[in-house]
Symmetry: C2
Subunit: 129 residues, 2 copies
Protein backbone atom coordinates (compact mmCIF):
# COMPACT_ATOMS: atom_id res chain seq x y z
CA UNK A 1 0.00 0.00 0.00
CA UNK A 2 1.63 3.19 -1.20
CA UNK A 3 0.10 6.59 -0.67
CA UNK A 4 0.41 8.66 -3.78
CA UNK A 5 1.01 12.37 -3.47
CA UNK A 6 -1.97 12.93 -5.70
CA UNK A 7 -4.22 10.91 -3.44
CA UNK A 8 -5.87 13.71 -1.49
CA UNK A 9 -8.14 11.43 0.40
CA UNK A 10 -8.78 11.42 4.09
CA UNK A 11 -10.12 8.46 6.01
CA UNK A 12 -12.69 8.53 8.78
CA UNK A 13 -11.56 5.97 11.31
CA UNK A 14 -14.98 5.33 12.87
CA UNK A 15 -16.67 4.98 9.50
CA UNK A 16 -14.05 2.46 8.40
CA UNK A 17 -14.56 0.49 11.60
CA UNK A 18 -18.33 0.62 11.31
CA UNK A 19 -18.14 -0.85 7.81
CA UNK A 20 -16.36 -3.99 8.98
CA UNK A 21 -18.48 -7.11 8.94
CA UNK A 22 -16.25 -9.47 10.87
CA UNK A 23 -15.20 -9.14 14.49
CA UNK A 24 -11.49 -9.15 15.41
CA UNK A 25 -10.47 -8.73 11.79
CA UNK A 26 -8.31 -5.59 11.54
CA UNK A 27 -8.25 -3.65 8.30
CA UNK A 28 -5.37 -1.43 7.27
CA UNK A 29 -6.63 2.08 6.50
CA UNK A 30 -3.38 4.03 6.27
CA UNK A 31 0.35 3.66 6.32
CA UNK A 32 2.61 6.15 8.12
CA UNK A 33 6.26 5.39 7.51
CA UNK A 34 6.80 1.85 8.78
CA UNK A 35 3.55 1.68 10.70
CA UNK A 36 0.06 0.70 9.72
CA UNK A 37 -3.06 2.34 11.04
CA UNK A 38 -5.73 -0.31 11.31
CA UNK A 39 -9.33 -0.34 12.46
CA UNK A 40 -11.23 -3.23 13.95
CA UNK A 41 -14.66 -4.05 15.31
CA UNK A 42 -14.38 -6.15 18.42
CA UNK A 43 -16.61 -7.84 20.95
CA UNK A 44 -15.87 -10.49 23.54
CA UNK A 45 -12.42 -11.85 24.35
CA UNK A 46 -9.53 -11.90 21.92
CA UNK A 47 -6.51 -13.98 22.89
CA UNK A 48 -3.60 -13.53 25.24
CA UNK A 49 -0.53 -12.64 23.25
CA UNK A 50 2.57 -10.47 23.14
CA UNK A 51 4.53 -8.72 20.42
CA UNK A 52 8.12 -9.39 21.31
CA UNK A 53 9.67 -6.48 19.44
CA UNK A 54 6.91 -3.98 18.87
CA UNK A 55 4.80 -1.60 20.90
CA UNK A 56 1.14 -1.47 19.89
CA UNK A 57 -1.20 1.45 20.42
CA UNK A 58 -4.92 1.00 20.90
CA UNK A 59 -7.28 3.94 20.37
CA UNK A 60 -10.95 3.44 21.16
CA UNK A 61 -13.26 5.02 18.58
CA UNK A 62 -16.58 3.92 20.03
CA UNK A 63 -17.61 1.87 23.04
CA UNK A 64 -15.36 0.51 25.75
CA UNK A 65 -12.34 -1.77 25.67
CA UNK A 66 -10.58 -3.46 28.56
CA UNK A 67 -6.99 -4.42 27.98
CA UNK A 68 -6.07 -7.15 30.39
CA UNK A 69 -2.42 -7.35 31.32
CA UNK A 70 -0.69 -9.71 33.67
CA UNK A 71 -0.43 -7.01 36.29
CA UNK A 72 -3.87 -5.50 35.93
CA UNK A 73 -6.29 -4.12 33.40
CA UNK A 74 -6.77 -0.80 31.66
CA UNK A 75 -10.28 0.41 30.86
CA UNK A 76 -10.57 2.55 27.75
CA UNK A 77 -13.48 4.67 26.56
CA UNK A 78 -13.88 6.52 23.27
CA UNK A 79 -10.92 8.81 22.67
CA UNK A 80 -8.67 6.93 25.09
CA UNK A 81 -5.37 5.56 23.84
CA UNK A 82 -3.07 3.03 25.45
CA UNK A 83 0.29 1.71 24.36
CA UNK A 84 1.05 -1.92 25.14
CA UNK A 85 4.83 -1.98 25.40
CA UNK A 86 6.70 -4.63 23.47
CA UNK A 87 6.99 -7.96 25.18
CA UNK A 88 4.00 -7.39 27.46
CA UNK A 89 1.33 -10.07 27.33
CA UNK A 90 -2.13 -8.63 26.87
CA UNK A 91 -5.67 -9.58 26.02
CA UNK A 92 -8.20 -7.07 24.70
CA UNK A 93 -11.77 -7.65 25.87
CA UNK A 94 -14.95 -5.79 24.94
CA UNK A 95 -18.12 -6.61 26.82
CA UNK A 96 -20.14 -4.90 24.11
CA UNK A 97 -19.32 -4.00 20.51
CA UNK A 98 -16.38 -1.64 20.35
CA UNK A 99 -14.58 0.04 17.46
CA UNK A 100 -10.85 0.55 17.76
CA UNK A 101 -7.89 1.89 15.83
CA UNK A 102 -4.46 0.26 16.11
CA UNK A 103 -1.06 1.77 15.39
CA UNK A 104 1.65 -0.78 14.97
CA UNK A 105 4.63 -1.58 12.80
CA UNK A 106 4.03 -3.00 9.37
CA UNK A 107 5.76 -6.17 10.58
CA UNK A 108 3.39 -6.79 13.50
CA UNK A 109 1.05 -9.77 13.41
CA UNK A 110 -2.02 -8.88 15.42
CA UNK A 111 -1.93 -12.05 17.46
CA UNK A 112 1.76 -11.60 18.27
CA UNK A 113 3.68 -14.79 18.87
CA UNK A 114 0.44 -16.77 18.86
CA UNK A 115 -1.03 -18.14 15.67
CA UNK A 116 -4.55 -19.43 15.97
CA UNK A 117 -7.91 -19.37 14.24
CA UNK A 118 -8.11 -15.66 14.92
CA UNK A 119 -4.89 -14.82 13.16
CA UNK A 120 -5.48 -12.75 10.01
CA UNK A 121 -2.76 -12.39 7.42
CA UNK A 122 -1.47 -8.97 6.51
CA UNK A 123 -2.84 -9.60 3.02
CA UNK A 124 -6.26 -10.05 4.53
CA UNK A 125 -5.86 -6.92 6.65
CA UNK A 126 -4.91 -4.97 3.52
CA UNK A 127 -8.12 -5.92 1.75
CA UNK A 128 -9.53 -2.99 -0.16
CA UNK A 129 -6.52 -0.79 0.67
Amino acid sequence: MELKATELKSVNLAAEAEALEELWSPRVVARVNDSFVKVAKVQGDFVWHAHEDEDEMFLVLKGRLRIELEEGAVELSAGDAFVVPKGIRHNPVADEECWIALFEPVATTHTGGETNERTKSIQDQLRGA
Copy 2:
Protein backbone atom coordinates in the same frame (compact mmCIF):
# COMPACT_ATOMS: atom_id res chain seq x y z
CA MET B 1 10.07 9.12 27.43
CA GLU B 2 9.94 5.44 28.27
CA LEU B 3 6.69 3.65 28.93
CA LYS B 4 7.07 1.33 31.88
CA ALA B 5 5.25 -1.95 31.91
CA THR B 6 3.83 -1.02 35.26
CA GLU B 7 2.42 2.22 33.93
CA LEU B 8 -1.16 1.17 33.31
CA LYS B 9 -2.27 4.59 32.28
CA SER B 10 -4.32 5.48 29.29
CA VAL B 11 -4.38 8.91 27.73
CA ASN B 12 -7.43 10.71 26.41
CA LEU B 13 -6.29 12.52 23.30
CA ALA B 14 -8.98 15.20 23.30
CA ALA B 15 -8.49 15.96 27.00
CA GLU B 16 -4.75 16.34 26.45
CA ALA B 17 -5.37 18.69 23.54
CA GLU B 18 -7.94 20.69 25.46
CA ALA B 19 -5.46 21.25 28.28
CA LEU B 20 -2.94 22.95 26.00
CA GLU B 21 -2.62 26.68 26.50
CA GLU B 22 -0.55 27.60 23.48
CA LEU B 23 -1.60 27.26 19.85
CA TRP B 24 0.59 25.30 17.40
CA SER B 25 2.63 23.85 20.23
CA PRO B 26 2.46 20.04 19.97
CA ARG B 27 2.81 17.96 23.10
CA VAL B 28 4.00 14.37 23.09
CA VAL B 29 1.47 12.14 24.84
CA ALA B 30 2.73 8.68 23.89
CA ARG B 31 5.49 6.85 22.18
CA VAL B 32 4.87 3.83 19.96
CA ASN B 33 8.12 2.28 18.81
CA ASP B 34 9.97 5.02 16.92
CA SER B 35 6.96 7.29 16.62
CA PHE B 36 5.51 9.92 18.86
CA VAL B 37 1.83 10.56 19.27
CA LYS B 38 1.35 14.27 19.82
CA VAL B 39 -1.64 16.50 20.38
CA ALA B 40 -1.97 20.15 19.47
CA LYS B 41 -4.47 22.94 19.64
CA VAL B 42 -4.44 24.96 16.44
CA GLN B 43 -6.14 27.96 14.93
CA GLY B 44 -5.26 30.07 11.92
CA ASP B 45 -2.43 29.34 9.50
CA PHE B 46 0.67 27.37 10.39
CA VAL B 47 3.52 27.49 7.90
CA TRP B 48 4.29 25.80 4.60
CA HIS B 49 6.80 23.04 5.17
CA ALA B 50 7.76 19.51 4.22
CA HIS B 51 9.31 16.59 6.05
CA GLU B 52 11.82 15.21 3.60
CA ASP B 53 12.06 11.70 5.00
CA GLU B 54 8.95 11.17 7.06
CA ASP B 55 5.25 10.73 6.53
CA GLU B 56 3.07 12.56 9.04
CA MET B 57 -0.44 11.61 10.03
CA PHE B 58 -3.01 14.14 11.16
CA LEU B 59 -6.09 13.03 13.08
CA VAL B 60 -8.72 15.64 13.92
CA LEU B 61 -10.10 15.31 17.44
CA LYS B 62 -12.41 18.30 17.44
CA GLY B 63 -13.29 20.99 14.92
CA ARG B 64 -12.12 21.20 11.33
CA LEU B 65 -8.69 21.31 9.75
CA ARG B 66 -7.75 22.11 6.18
CA ILE B 67 -4.46 20.75 4.99
CA GLU B 68 -3.30 22.80 2.04
CA LEU B 69 -1.05 21.01 -0.42
CA GLU B 70 0.47 22.29 -3.60
CA GLU B 71 -2.01 20.34 -5.65
CA GLY B 72 -5.12 21.00 -3.60
CA ALA B 73 -6.50 20.90 -0.11
CA VAL B 74 -7.96 18.24 2.14
CA GLU B 75 -10.75 19.14 4.56
CA LEU B 76 -10.82 17.14 7.76
CA SER B 77 -13.53 16.88 10.40
CA ALA B 78 -13.45 15.12 13.76
CA GLY B 79 -12.42 11.51 13.34
CA ASP B 80 -10.83 12.10 9.94
CA ALA B 81 -7.21 11.14 9.41
CA PHE B 82 -4.86 12.12 6.60
CA VAL B 83 -1.29 11.12 5.91
CA VAL B 84 0.96 13.75 4.36
CA PRO B 85 3.53 11.68 2.47
CA LYS B 86 7.19 12.48 2.99
CA GLY B 87 8.53 15.28 0.86
CA ILE B 88 5.12 16.84 0.22
CA ARG B 89 4.84 20.51 1.11
CA HIS B 90 1.81 21.24 3.23
CA ASN B 91 0.25 23.90 5.39
CA PRO B 92 -2.36 23.11 8.04
CA VAL B 93 -5.04 25.77 8.46
CA ALA B 94 -7.90 25.94 10.96
CA ASP B 95 -10.45 28.68 10.54
CA GLU B 96 -11.65 28.04 14.09
CA GLU B 97 -10.01 26.33 17.05
CA CYS B 98 -9.26 22.73 16.26
CA TRP B 99 -7.70 19.91 18.28
CA ILE B 100 -5.53 17.42 16.47
CA ALA B 101 -3.39 14.38 17.08
CA LEU B 102 -0.19 13.81 15.11
CA PHE B 103 1.58 10.56 14.51
CA GLU B 104 5.13 10.95 13.30
CA PRO B 105 8.64 9.61 13.80
CA VAL B 106 10.53 10.63 16.89
CA ALA B 107 12.99 12.38 14.60
CA THR B 108 10.43 14.66 12.95
CA THR B 109 10.56 18.39 13.61
CA HIS B 110 7.03 19.74 13.32
CA THR B 111 8.02 22.55 10.99
CA GLY B 112 9.96 20.20 8.73
CA GLY B 113 12.86 21.78 6.89
CA GLU B 114 11.75 25.23 8.01
CA THR B 115 12.88 26.70 11.29
CA ASN B 116 11.02 29.78 12.38
CA GLU B 117 9.43 31.37 15.41
CA ARG B 118 6.87 28.60 15.43
CA THR B 119 9.40 25.83 15.71
CA LYS B 120 9.18 24.01 19.05
CA SER B 121 11.99 21.80 20.20
CA ILE B 122 11.34 18.15 20.95
CA GLN B 123 12.28 18.94 24.55
CA ASP B 124 9.50 21.48 24.63
CA GLN B 125 7.07 19.03 23.05
CA LEU B 126 7.99 16.46 25.68
CA ARG B 127 7.08 18.81 28.53
CA GLY B 128 5.25 16.99 31.27
CA ALA B 129 5.72 13.62 29.57
